[in-house]
Symmetry: C2
Subunit: 159 residues, 2 copies
């Protein structure tokens, strides 16, 4: 199979310059504000995204140079297969976040529910669609035990 | 910003060799069975994924050579910004599907809820996590009007 060449479409500006205080998923710490600045040539592609409440961002974990097949997630000390966790140490190091859209102005998408480092190269934006992306009867494997209390975010979920 | 080199981690084998009969999202036609065959060196990364009911697949829309900033989705004849639709004509042509895990055997992940063509290069697998990936109070922009009747899949959702 041939390699695939990805050209970043922009950059993510975030208040997180280190892992301190960053949530493992943006929904666990809602107040931080970030924005994705697209290269000017992609601005047209944002048309009508402002009708959606949430967007999916794909980006490159550019600070991780190492790839692992087994790794320890933030939630516990047990190692799992890299495809059963959301760790940045994954092959191809592509990150996936669901963020809450605040506003769109020109080539910039402002959002909250941020779990991305400042300076992260952006690869794609997709609309989050209730009718496509919400599933029922979901089993969340080794993660279930950390969310037994649905009203409480585990303390390991914020670094 | 530098280009990013992606090495496919495997290939998706699917019953869909053309767009005929393929759903625009796997959840709209549940019966088809497909599997992702990882390169043998990635098999270890699947450890513990079998505890999850659903997985997120990232892959390359390898059959699309053209990129557009405005495009027409399957659901309607109106053009929207490429980042407000899920069209394969997007910059970097990365596809995203949530699939239902059937079983995992050695380096193969068998799944249903398939919306991917046979032979598609696989880039990443992530666990779908109820506590991370389901959002409440979602607004789905131009897509809302096609799902007013929550019990009925629009006929344009299957090609």
């Amino acid at each position: 199979m041939e390699n695939i060449i990805i050209k970043p479409i922009g950059i993510i500006h975030s208040p997180y310059n280190s892992s301190e205080g960053i949530p493992i998923q943006g929904k666990f710490k809602k107040e931080a504000l970030a924005y994705a600045e697209l290269l000017p040539e992609y601005e047209t592609g944002l048309k009508d995204l402002d009708g959606f409440s949430h967007a999916i961002l794909l980006y490159h974990f550019h600070e991780q140079k190492e790839e692992k097949l087994l790794a320890q997630p933030y939630l516990e000390k047990v190692k799992h297969g890299i495809f059963a966790i959301r760790s940045p140490y994954r092959p191809n190091r592509i990150g996936f976040s669901i963020v809450k859209i605040n506003k769109i102005e020109a080539n910039c998408l402002y959002f909250t529910e941020v779990d991305v480092f400042d300076g992260t190269p952006l690869i794609d934006i997709k609309p989050y669609v209730e009718y496509f992306d919400k599933r029922e009867n979901v089993k969340s494997g080794w993660i279930e035990k950390h969310f037994q209390n649905k009203n409480k975010v585990p303390k390991q979920a914020i670094l």
